[in-house]
Structure formats: C-alpha cells, structure tokens
C-alpha cells in the first residue's frame, strides 16, 4: 500500500515538475500562472484593464483573419442560395410591396392620431431617455461557442461605445454590449442564456421577461401570469420598463413549430447580421 502511494506521488511529481528537452516550462509553473491570471481577471485591478483590452483587440483581429476561409465558404454558399431563390423571392417581394403600400397610408393616419392623443395626454415616449448616440459597426466575428452566444463588432471605446448599449440589426434588437476594448466590442445576443429583457406581448398588457435559451428559434418568456399561454403570431415588443430601451421595439414573434407547439423566435437573425447599429436604447 505504501509502495503504491509512493509510486503515485513520484508519478505526479514527475508529471508536474519534470521538463523534457522540448519543454520550456514545467506544468507546475504554468498551473500557478493560470491560477494567478484567473485571480487577477476576477479582481480586475485598473492596471490590468488596458492590458486585457489590448490583448483582446489583438486576439480578435487575428481571430478575424483565421476565420476568413470559413467566411468565404459561407459567402459562396449564400450567394448560390440567393441566386437559386431569386425568382420566388421576387414574386413574394412584389406581393409584399403592394401590401405595404396599402399599409403605409393606414400607418400614417395612426401615427398622426397617436401624436395628437399623446400631446392631449401630455405623454412623451422620449421622456427620460438619452437619445443622442448611434453608430454603425461591422460584425467581425461570430464564433460558435457552446456556452456564450455573442458576436464581436469593429467599434470600441475609441468610437464612444460603452457597456450596456443596445445593438440593432435591420431595426431589430440583437443584444447588448457586455465588453468594450479600444477597437472592438462584444455583443451578448438575445439568444444567450444570460440575456434577459423586459417585454410586452402584442394586443395584451402582459409584461414578461424574454430569456434566451441558446437557440434563435426557441426563446422563453418568464414571469407570465398563471395559466396564460401565448397566442400564435403575436409580436413581442420591448416594454421600456428597464428605463433604458424605448418601448415598442419589436423583438420576437410567437409561431407554431412542426410539432404544433407554440414557440417564440427572434425577428432578427443574429447569424445574418453584417452591419449593426449601436445606440443608447432606441432604434436609429
């Protein structure tokens, strides 16, 4: 028993401390270094932050370079699909344009009526909201991670981006800024498990929290009233109760899946986003 224990200790010591000809560092030293880095990252002293931001910028740019072949392949596949579907899409777009033309007049009437009613009630949707920042940015990296659903954009603190700002793609809410560096920023997508958003359901006064599940076709609504089941084809808007986002921004929609189950999907597609708008909480 004692011999076995001695052998085990010798083998572990050998694995930890022994450096072969090609090894410049021992495992023990690198493990201690890793623990030190984790602790420093957690404590995040002010000296470390610029170093981390520079390291992030450098790694992100190299990562962008390394993902170019895959991007090219994706681009070719997308172009091919686009050409393949162009006829049916053209027909569909013509029909949609006709429909939208009719809707436009209706909307103009409703908007003017809404303005009149708001002024009569002395309400303003812009009250309390900072509406002075909007910047376009390019998505440079959308690396797949089984854990964190995020994208990287090519604008950082140098362009005035701050943590917590909201990101839109094609007027649809995509997510929020969770990390800023000098030249890049990380956007936490609405599909991420860590994303929480206060919303309101169309044609109802029901407030809820929209939570990501990691999948864009299946988001979850939390804190709904008891026995309430979301109806089909209902748009989910931001409620503005967080005090930052403007109310009424369309975020998601309910739909019926193949198994006749009502699910919630995002209106925007984070995978297709190339150019995004970063704002203080409003669509621009």
């Amino acid at each position: 028993m004692a011999d076995y224990r001695d052998d085990f200790i010798i083998a572990i010591r050998y694995a930890l401390l022994k450096k072969s000809a090609k090894q410049k560092f021992s495992l023990f030293f690198l493990i201690i270094l890793s623990i030190a880095i984790i602790t420093l990252d957690k404590l995040s002293p002010s000296i470390i932050r610029p170093v981390k931001a520079t390291l992030n910028d450098f790694v992100y740019h190299v990562s962008v370079l390394s993902s170019q072949p895959a991007k090219l392949k994706k681009h070719i596949v997308q172009k091919f699909k686009l050409h393949y579907n162009i006829l049916s899409e053209n027909k569909y777009l013509k029909e949609e344009m006709e429909y939208l033309k009719k809707q436009k007049f209706n909307n103009a009437y409703l908007a003017s009526e809404n303005q009149i009613l708001k002024s009569a009630l002395d309400l303003s949707i812009i009250k309390g909201l900072e509406q002075d920042f909007s910047i376009s940015a390019k998505v440079i990296l959308d690396q797949a991670s089984p854990f964190l659903k995020s994208i990287l954009i090519n604008k950082g603190t140098q362009s005035g981006i701050k943590k917590g700002m909201t990101v839109f793609s094609n007027d649809y809410l995509m997510g929020t800024i969770i990390e800023t560096n000098y030249l890049t920023s990380r956007v936490l997508l609405l599909t991420d498990l860590n994303s929480k958003l206060s919303v309101i359901i169309e044609d109802t006064s029901i407030n809820a929290i929209l939570e990501g599940t990691g999948k864009k076709q299946n988001l979850k609504l939390r804190y709904l009233p008891e026995n309430y089941k979301p109806e089909l084809n209902k748009t989910i808007f931001t409620s503005g109760k967080d005090g930052f986002l403007s109310p009424g921004i369309p975020v998601a929609v309910t739909y019926l899946n193949k198994k006749d189950k009502t699910l919630i999907r995002l209106l925007g597609d984070p995978d297709q986003a190339l150019i995004v708008n970063v704002t203080n909480g409003q669509i621009k």
Partner: protein
Amino acid sequence: MLYFKLIKEKIFTSLPIVLLYFFSFYHFQIPEVGKINFFAFNFQMILIYFYILKFPEALGFGNIFLAGIINDTVLGIPLGTTSLSYLTLSLFTSYIRNATLRSVITAEWFTFIPALFFSNLVYLIIINNFSNVSFYYIELLQNTFFTFLFFPIFHYIFSQYQRLISKD
C-alpha cells in the same frame, strides 16, 4: 537541399501546434442534426491528450497554456479558465504516460474519460465561481461525450500522420 529538408521537417513537426492555435482562434460551427449537435466536440482536448500521451516533444506546455488564453479571449470567458483546464488534462495525461508501460488504444481511449472529467471539472468550478456566465450543463456533457467518442478517429489520423513524417 539539406536546408529545405530541415524546413519541411520543421513544418511537418509543427503541425500539431499550428492546429492547436488555429482552433483556438477559430471555432468552427457545423449545423445541428435534429436536436443534438453531433459535431460539437473539443478538438483541442483530443489533440492535447494524444500528443502529450504519445509525442510529448511535439506539443509544449507553454503552447497549450497560450492556446488556452487565446481560447478564453475569443469566447469571452474569464482569462486562464481554458488554460487551467488544458493543463489539468496535460497533468493527467503525463501521469498516465508515466504510469503505463505498454500503450493500447482501448486503454488510452478509456483513460481519456477521467482525463476529460477532471479537466471539465476544473472548467466548471472556475466558470461557476469566477464569472457570472451561466450555461446548460447538458451542452457541456454532450460536448464531452462527443469528444470522447471521436477520440479513436483522431487517434488513427494523428498516428498515421506521425508515421508518415517519421518515414520522411
């Protein structure tokens, strides 16, 4: 001529390091099949386990550490998490290498289970205690399972590759 041969040899022997860094910078995504993403596996872990076990001179611990740091930066998780996880895997693998006399692929495959377990345990402990990131444990389990499952395929590929370059 000898100079070119040396360069060629250097390129071939550096391939595991190149792959390790490349997959730390670039995380490929293959479309899901049904509800399970069959291809969500950790290639770096297979690479580290194989090379530390069979050809430790081809993959330095310093490179493994740096690849982990890059991986953490790209994925946006606390710096050092993946490094410590990879180094735990390396430690376990070094122990297996020192403790075994004769290598058999089935034995190597099954000793990969505790190696993966300890390395993912370290990963989980750090994520849970040093960050606010939450994720589905089932996804990590799936990822670990497919990493284990694909090991023999990569074992064969890497062995063939090493045989090929040793012939040259």
